[in-house]
Amino acid sequence: MKRKLLTQIATEWKSNMWLAIELLLVSVVVWVVTDNLWVKTELRLQPMGVETDNCFKVGTALVNADSPAYDGQDSTDLTGMEHMLKLYDRLRHYPGVEHAAIVLNGTPYEMNFSGSNLITLDTPDTIMTTRNNIFTVSPEYVDVFKVKGSHGETTAQLKEMLAKGEIITSFGLSVVSYADLRTIDQQNYEDWQRITRPAKREELVGHRMSFAGYGENDNNYPVWHVGATIVPIRRMEYEEATGNTIRALDLTNPELVCQSCFLVRVSPEARATFRQDILKESNNLFRSGNRFVGEVTEISAIRELTQSEEVATIRNFIVVMVFLLLCIFLGLLGTFWFRTQQRVSEIAIRKVNGATGADIFRRLIGEGLLLLLIVTPVAVLLDYGVAHYLSEMPMSDYNLPTGRFLGGVTITFCLMALMIVLGIWFPATRAMRIDPATALKDE
C-alpha cells in the first residue's frame, strides 16, 4: 500500500511539491510557536511563591502644599513615620482586613528588583549570592501572601523568624563560591554562568550572612542569621524565579517607613467594595497629618497590567499558528477536492475491483499523511537549525532540552496531521460515495 502511495505521490510530483513546501514551512513555524508556548506554559505552571487572591496594595501620598487642606504645621519630615504607622495600624484593624504588612520592596507583579548580594560569614568556603532580590517587609508579609517554607516550615514559623530579626531566603538561590570565583576571568559572562549553581539548603540555613564587600567588622552593616528557605517568589508568571531574600523592615527608620506602602489581604466578602470603602475615608480615617491613603489597587489588576505584553504576545503567536493551520486545512481541502474530481474513473475502477469506500477514504488520507511523513525529517532538521541559531545569539539564554524538542516536534506533527485529516476528510468522504457504475458510464 505504502509503495503504491509513494508511486502515486511521485507521479503527481508537481502539485505535491507545492503541498510539501507548504507543509515544510508551516511545520517549522508551528514548531517555533509550539516551543515558545511550551516554555511559557512551563513557566506559568511553576509556583508563584505567593497567593495573591483578595490582596490589595494600599499606597499613601502627601497633601499638596497648594491645597487648602494642607497642614502647614505638620512637618512631614519629622512626623511622616508616625503618620505612616498610624495609618498602618488603622488599616490592620479595618473591618474585612485579615492581614496587613508594611512593605518597602516586595509587591508581587511590580517587577522591582532590589538586587544586593549576600555572602556567608561562617562557612569554610565563602558563598556569595549572584541574583538576589531583597524584600524589605514587616513580618506580616508572609501572612498576607501565605508564604510557605520549602521544607515544611509554616507561615507562622516564618513570621516568627522575621520578627526575631532572621532572614529567609528562597530555596535554590543562585550562588558562587569564592574558591570557584578565584579560578575564572571575572569579566567573562560565560565564566560566571559556568560556576553559578543553586545553593544547597544546608549551605545557607543556620549560617550568618552579610552584604558582599562588608563583613562583621563593619558595624554599619548588619549581620543576619538565615532562619529558613522558602518556595522562591517570582516577579511574574512568565519569568523564572530571580531568587530572593526576605528581611524585616526597620520600623524605626523614618526614611524607609515613609517610602513604603501597605499590602493587605481582605476577606472574600470585603473584596468587592474594599477599594471604594478605603478611598472614601482618605480625608478622615485614612488621613494622618498631611499623609493620606491615595491609592488602592488590587494585586490582580497589577498582575494584568504587568503581564499584558506577555499575554498579547502569546495571543499573537496563537493567532499566527491557527492561521497557518487553517492554511494547511484549506490547501489540502482544495487540492484533494480537485484530485477527487480528477480521479473519479480511477476510484471507480478500484471499487469495481473490490475496494470498499473505507479503503478509498484511507488511501486519500494516507496520501496526505505520507506527504507529511516525508517532509517531517527535513522540518526537524530545520527546527534544530532554528534552535541552534537562537542559542548562538549573543547573550542568549535559550536552551532546548531533548525532551522539549521531541515534545514540540510531536505536537507539531500531530497538529499538522490533524489538519491534514480534516482537510482531506470532505473530499475523501465524497470519493467514498462515488458510484462506480455511474462514474464509468460518464467516462
Binding site: S15, W18, L25, F323, G331, G334, W337
Partner: protein, 427 residues
C-alpha cells in the same frame, strides 16, 4: 465583462475550490491588514493629533558624565534651550512626558482615576482638541501657576454627571482644587503624545523638577509650518544644542551631550523608547520583524492559492489550447490569467479588509492592550481606520498575493503546447 462571466462560470462549476480560494485570500489579507492597521495607528493623523505629518518630537537627553553616562528626560530649562528660536516652526509646546496617574473628583464622593498632563499654552495650538464647553487655559494662566484645568468629556460626566462642567471645582489628587476651564471630546490613548483625561498648566514644580541640572520630565512637540521645514528646524536645534554643550563644558569639562538626532518625526516616535539609544536601532529591528511577519502571512497563503490556481487551470487545459491555436499570444494568456485571478483576489481582499477594519474597531482594546495598557479603554474611531493609506496597503498586498499565487501557474499555462493542450495532455 467576459472575464467576470468566466469567473462566475468557474465558480459555479467548482464552487468548493472557488470558495476556498476566496476564503484563503480573505483570511490572508485580514491578518496582514490587522498588522498594517496596528502599525498605522502610530502615524495616521486623527484629532487631536491631526498634524502628525508636521510633528517633530524632542524626548530625551543623553550625557557623558565624569563617571560614566546618564540619560533621561529633559529639564524645562534644557528643553527651552534646545527648542527656542526655531525657523520654520509654527509652534513649539513643552509639556510633561505622558500623563501621570492621579485621582479626580469632588469632596465626599468616590474619586475617579485620571491621567494628568501638564502643558504650556502652545499645547492647544499644536494639538487640535475639540472643545465641547469652555476654552483652553492661557499663557498668563501658565505663568501664574493658576489652578485651572481642561478635562475630557467622559471624566466630566463621571465626576459631575454632565459634560457642562465649566466653572466647577475639581479636586485633583484628593486635595488640590482646580477650576474647570474647558471640556474636550475624549481622546484615544492611541494619541500617545496628547492623551490624558485632565490637562493642567505646566506647574512650577514640574518646571523646577530637575536632576543633574539638565534632566527632568519635560518633552517638546514642534509643529512645523510644513514638512519641508524639518531640515531648517533640525539645523536650529543642532545650533542650540551646540550652545548648550558649550555652556555645559564651561561648568564641567568632563560632561558632554551625546546627540541621537532628536527631534524625530512622528513615524520614529514609537522607536524613541530608550533615552540612551537612537530610535534607528529599534526602527530597523521592528522593520525586520514586520518583514518576517508579512513574508509568512503572504508566502504560505500564496503557495496554497497557487496550488489552487494550478488546479483550476488544469480543468481548462483544452480551452487554453484552443485560444493558443487561434493566435492568442503567451503574454496575452499570462495577462488574462493574472487579471482573472486578480479579480478573485480583490474580491477576497475586500472581504479581508472589511473584516479587519471591523475587528480592529470592535476589539481595539484587546489588540492594543500590550503597548497602551496605561490608557484604559482604547477606542478607535472610524476616521482613524478609514484612511487612504489603509486602502493603498490592502491593494498592494492583494497585488503581491495575486502575483505570487498566479504568476507561476499562468506562466506554465502559457507555455503549454496548443496541440497537447487541446488533446488534454499538457506537458
Amino acid at each position: 465583462m467576459t472575464q467576470l462571466t468566466r469567473i462566475y462560470r468557474e465558480m459555479r462549476r467548482q464552487p468548493v475550490i472557488g470558495l476556498v480560494t476566496l476564503f484563503g485570500t480573505a483570511l490572508a489579507i485580514f491578518l496582514i491588514m490587522i498588522v498594517v492597521l496596528m502599525q498605522n495607528v502610530n502615524t495616521i493623523p486623527f484629532s487631536p493629533e491631526s498634524n502628525r505629518g508636521r510633528f517633530l518630537h524632542g524626548r530625551h537627553l543623553h550625557m557623558k558624565t565624569d563617571n560614566g553616562e546618564c540619560s533621561g528626560g529633559m529639564s524645562y530649562q534644557t528643553a527651552r534651550t534646545f527648542f527656542c528660536d526655531l525657523e520654520g516652526a509654527e509652534a513649539v509646546s513643552l509639556h510633561t512626558d505622558g500623563g501621570s496617574q492621579t485621582t479626580a473628583g469632588i469632596p465626599g464622593a468616590p474619586q475617579a482615576e485620571a491621567s494628568n498632563l501638564e502643558t504650556d499654552a502652545y499645547f492647544w495650538k499644536v494639538f487640535d482638541f475639540t472643545f465641547i464647553h469652555g476654552n483652553p487655559y492661557s499663557a498668563a494662566d501658565v505663568e501664574s501657576d493658576a489652578k485651572v484645568a481642561v478635562i475630557s468629556e467622559s471624566l466630566a460626566r463621571e465626576v459631575f454627571g454632565t459634560p457642562d462642567a465649566v466653572g466647577r471645582t475639581l479636586m485633583l489628587d484628593h486635595f488640590v482644587p482646580y477650576t474647570v476651564r474647558g471640556v474636550v471630546k475624549d481622546v484615544s490613548p492611541l494619541a500617545t503624545t496628547a492623551y490624558a483625561t485632565v490637562w493642567t498648566p505646566l506647574s512650577h514644580d514640574a518646571r523646577n523638577n530637575t536632576w543633574y541640572n539638565y534632566f527632568g520630565g519635560i518633552t517638546a512637540t514642534v509643529l512645523a509650518k510644513d514638512r519641508s521645514d524639518f531640515d531648517r528646524i533640525r539645523k536650529c536645534v543642532t545650533r542650540n544644542k551646540a550652545k548648550f554643550n558649550t555652556a555645559v563644558k564651561a561648568e564641567n569639562e568632563a560632561w558632554a551631550m551625546i546627540d541621537h538626532g532628536s527631534p524625530f518625526p512622528q513615524e520614529m516616535l514609537q522607536y524613541a523608547t530608550w533615552s540612551n539609544q537612537s530610535p534607528d536601532v529599534g526602527a530597523s529591528e521592528s522593520r525586520r520583524t514586520r518583514l518576517a511577519v508579512y513574508a509568512i502571512l503572504l508566502l504560505i497563503p500564496a503557495i496554497n492559492l497557487s496550488s489552487m490556481t494550478q488546479s483550476r487551470l488544469r480543468r481548462r487545459v483544452s480551452e487554453m489550447g484552443v485560444r493558443r491555436a487561434f493566435g492568442c499570444t503567451r503574454l496575452r494568456m499570462v495577462r488574462d490569467i493574472v487579471t482573472e485571478n486578480l479579480i478573485v483576489t480583490l474580491a477576497g481582499g475586500l472581504i479581508g479588509l472589511l473584516s479587519s477594519l471591523i475587528a480592529v474597531w470592535m476589539f481595539a482594546d484587546m489588540l492594543f492592550t500590550g503597548s497602551l495598557a496605561k490608557g484604559g479603554t482604547v477606542a478607535v474611531a472610524p476616521e482613524m481606520l478609514l484612511q487612504w493609506s489603509t486602502f493603498g496597503w490592502a491593494l498592494l498586498f492583494c497585488f503581491l498575493l495575486n502575483l505570487l499565487s498566479s504568476g507561476l501557474p499562468a506562466w506554465r499555462a502559457a507555455r503549454m503546447n496548443p496541440t497537447d493542450a487541446i488533446g488534454g495532455q499538457p506537458k
